[in-house]
Symmetry: C2
Subunit: 384 residues, 2 copies
């Protein structure tokens, strides 16, 4: 077929200006602003996916992720997609058709777990809580006894509600029941105390654009030995190629490295820098910073007569849900913050739509100046 | 669980220097170097995924992709993953369990199609050709009559062999058989003549890091009306969440936009700029540039006594396989080009491992200066 056979259609040939994005202060549910050093790292020269320099970057990302997650898991990688892809990777690999999967649903991302586990043939059972509350260990124990699942899935930091789900005792419970413990750490990794090994978590995943201060687009994922054993002993093939644990494993640590896909190198560079900032600051200091900045925000809300939706005991420092006062149009307030102050906050999702605002103070954005601008702007918009 | 309950383990707390990548000239199978303007665009400020500025970027990417692909398909998006994720998205959505899928396998990526189609329950049938050759229309017609598939999948530009598969007549054949035509355009989009609508292609996907001169990490994907009809009439749910056509569709064009994942905004910015460069240059000029630069390379190879593996008639301009002369260690030559000249070329894959080098002259890298450095460096290393 020759180049001249058909005529080129110019209908969709837009003539666009250079990209021009407003300088948002991103205090919503994510993405957050990346640390400026992350952007500097992100535009390092492109190298091939088998270049020894790139393999070294992959190894460094793995190792720094182990620090951030507090795990010795050899299988600690990033999926070349967003946090949602890492979530899907977690379920796609450890759930076999017919496996009972018990999901703790107390928010939007718990519901998403149900959807995804079902697509891989899981026999999904739910335990439900009101959005804004956490499960007690007793509630989970009772459900485990009823459903006898092969996988227990819970959200450590529910981005739709601002709840921190305590994970105490779940590892022991899962071991009694020969069940894997799978935990969503999208909004906790790098901002909220989290010990994958000490807490006996078998599978965890996260995102890059929350407390890790990198752009969206890579999804951290770790499998512990019990998860790998279940994957090795699957009776059915993994119904996914891109997020396939075995193929990704050969790509991340095979000798020689097995080609799987062409990694988004620049996002790996960015992730390396985001994780390098975590290592420099230190986890204890980082967790304390998130906590103290969140407390400053909560104190400011109280002064203004506004109320966090979640009890202090279970309240995440990285993501606060703030109740919308009666008579206030939540969306209009968010729109004014965005248009007049360049400050983004998020609205409520699912059961909390229209009822709360969601404020993220995550990673690089967990700083007092961000609390100050948000409190002041919010006071001006609300007339308080 | 208190912050003090466990002790932080510093074993994996690497103390790393700033990232430092060598300035490679990437003339392998991909990634290619991005145009410098793409990196400038890539670090535009982060905005939220529902920010009107971001929705506009998505719309612009869609529209410019329609130009690059020469399609009016409304469903023209990028998957938030690499080209492999777009490949998987193509099969995951149009293949239902039990569907007969006829795959033309004449290289590594044809084989990958077989793997992926099988993971979604496809009853996969193959037609095979020697690596380095193309299928004739007659061969495909005969296989269609034997297998009566619901989906015919072929690779337009086989990155492992350097073959351009002619697509003439396939649309008519597929319509006779009520079959979808699914085409891999990873190494052709933006570099090789390709008319999705005029050629009757129902499903196409590509990558960002080849002829489009953007970094790896987003996978262009388009579904025509016949593909959408098949997806709408599926009897079984799509066994994938992240690459789900329906959910991605609501994200790209819903009113209001439905949240699906947090797009890797900076890669979308980069893609917008890569596609903007395509629109500025114009497809005819761009295709002609790829052809003339490749011809200069082929002429230089001939002078040196080296032979392209593929007959001129089916030879891709974007990716040339060069036969390794007898007695030459292919890997050692590639290593010297990389270490001494910062020039990356790729080795052979699969059936062609050790037998060919793969040279990409794609997008921004399809320039005479790159041909010059490679020819000269190759002559020096080979002593010719």
């Amino acid at each position: 077929m020759s180049i001249d056979t058909f005529t080129i259609n110019d209908n969709h040939r837009l003539n666009l200006p250079t990209i021009d994005m407003p300088p948002r202060i991103l205090l919503g549910a994510g993405p957050s602003n990346s640390h400026p050093r992350v952007f500097a790292a992100m535009i390092a020269p492109t190298v091939g996916y088998l270049d020894s320099n790139f393999i070294q970057v992959m190894d460094e990302v793995s190792e720094l992720l182990r620090y951030a997650w507090q795990t010795n898991n050899e299988y600690t990688v990033v999926v070349s997609g967003t946090g949602t892809s890492a979530m899907e990777a977690a379920f796609a690999n450890v759930v076999e058709p017919g496996d009972r999967v018990l999901v703790g649903v107390a928010g939007y991302f718990g519901r998403r777990m149900v959807d995804i586990a079902g697509r891989y043939g899981g026999d999904v059972r739910c335990i439900e809580a009101v959005w804004g509350e956490a499960f007690t260990l007793d509630e989970i124990r009772q459900a485990m006894e009823v459903h006898r699942p092969q996988v227990l899935a819970v959200v450590h930091a529910e981005t739709s509600t601002g709840v921190r789900q305590p994970l105490d005792g779940l590892a022991e419970l899962c071991r009694e029941h020969d069940c894997l413990l799978l935990v969503d750490t999208v909004t906790s990794l790098g901002g909220v105390p989290l010990y994958v090994d000490d807490w006996g978590i078998d599978v965890a995943y996260s995102g890059s654009q929350k407390c890790l201060s990198a752009p969206s687009g890579v999804g951290p994922l770790t499998f512990g030995p019990r998860a790998l054993e279940k994957i090795d002993n699957r009776r059915t093939p993994i119904a996914n190629f891109y997020m396939n644990a075995e193929l990704m494993g050969k790509y991340w640590s095979g000798t020689p490295r097995g080609y799987h896909h062409t990694a988004p190198a620049h996002l790996y560079y960015a992730m390396r820098e985001g994780l390098r900032l975590v290592a420099e600051e230190g986890l204890a200091e980082r967790w304390a910073r998130h906590q103290s900045v969140a407390e400053a925000f909560w104190a400011g809300l109280e002064e203004m007569g506004l109320t966090p939706h979640v009890a202090l005991e279970y309240r995440l420092p990285s993501l606060t849900t703030v109740r919308v006062p009666a008579g206030v149009d939540a969306a209009a307030v968010a729109r004014r913050l965005l248009n007049e102050y360049n400050v983004e906050i998020s609205g409520g999702l699912g059961d909390l739509a229209g009822k709360v605002w969601r404020v993220g103070l995550m990673g690089y954005n967990a700083r007092r100046e961000n609390v100050a601008v948000l409190l002041r702007a919010l006071a001006e918009v609300l007339g308080r």
